[in-house]
């Protein structure tokens, strides 16, 4: 799995770590259970909501704030659907090494984002969104979907991919303004 090159801001390292967290488990042949896949999916969505909250707090750029609002709204919607499906299936999402690693990496990214302001923040946030969505798309397509047994959970993950790709295209579109 090739993760696209990312800027040398430190985000690249964090996001490579995110992807690594997911792939490492797969390579260990420690297959994720469905409750673990559900937890990883919810965690990935929550992390981007947290990034959006920081952007809304720190940025004064309307395009960045609009983007952050969209990320917050869309990822909350996905979490709500995952929660509804888990309830329907009687599954309790289960914390696991992958989601713990993701959260630890996200904390480092949040700390880095909080240390920036103005144009530097806008650039860092959008660069991070591009890299994060690339990593999440790769993880969902190559690890989470193949490792999911339940057909409804697998379908939900498949349905999320077009949204993640649209988010990535949107972020890449904005990225051109923050070189």
């Amino acid at each position: 799995m090739k993760i696209s090159p990312i800027s040398k801001t430190g985000f690249g390292l964090t996001l490579t770590m995110f992807a690594f967290s997911v792939f490492a488990l797969a390579q260990d042949k420690s297959k994720l259970s469905d409750p673990e896949v559900a937890f990883v999916a919810v965690t990935a969505n929550q992390i981007d909501i947290d990034f959006a909250a920081i952007a809304k707090q720190k940025s004064k750029d309307a395009s960045v704030i609009d983007f952050a609002n969209t990320m917050e709204r869309d990822h909350k919607a996905v979490i709500a659907q995952a929660a509804a499906l888990a309830k329907k299936l009687g599954v309790t999402p289960k914390n696991n090494a992958v989601s713990k690693g993701m959260l630890a990496d996200a904390e480092k990214t949040k700390k880095s984002l909080r240390s920036k302001s103005g144009a530097a923040f806008n650039k860092a946030y959008i660069d991070n969104e591009v890299a994060y969505h690339k990593a999440v798309i790769a993880a969902v397509e190559t690890v989470l979907i193949p490792e999911t047994d339940n057909s409804e959970l697998k379908q939900l993950l498949q349905n999320v991919v077009p949204a993640l790709k649209a988010h990535l295209s949107h972020a890449e579109m904005l990225q051109k303004n923050y070189k």
């Binding site: 969209t70 709204r73 869309d74 919607a77 996905v78 659907q81 349905n159 999320v160 077009p162 949204a163 790709k165 649209a166 988010h167 295209s169 949107h170 579109m173």
Partner: protein
């Protein structure tokens, strides 16, 4: 007597010709306006480009898992409210226009009046 007969025949022929002309030149009936449907799913407007006649109605239906809207792209001349899953927006098309979802600007569509 013969002249009178000829005149009657001429009048009949001319009248028939006039009726024929009127019949031929009756304006074509205007096509009844149609309703077309554009589905929003998998972060796309489907079909992304729609050919319509002026006065046709387009119904946008959100079958996607996320909230979207339909907004005229150039001047925001028209647009829907936010459409949750299952919501729809109906409009009569009077001119060609490009539109997009302002929440997800990479989602674009086109209405082309023929």
């Amino acid at each position: 007597m013969k002249n009178r007969f000829d005149r009657t025949v001429n009048v009949f022929v001319v009248s028939a010709f006039v009726f024929l002309l009127i019949g031929c030149s009756t304006p074509e009936k205007k096509a009844t306006p149609k309703t077309h449907t554009v589905e929003i799913k998998a972060m796309q407007f489907q079909p992304a480009e729609l050919l319509v006649q002026k006065g046709d109605t387009v119904l946008f239906v959100n079958h996607d898992m996320l909230v979207h809207n339909v907004t005229e792209e150039r001047t925001k001349a028209w647009g829907s409210q936010s459409l949750a899953t299952g919501d729809s927006y109906k409009m009569v098309v009077n001119e060609s226009s490009d539109y997009y979802c302002s929440l997800h600007p990479v989602m674009k569509g086109k209405l082309v009046v023929e």
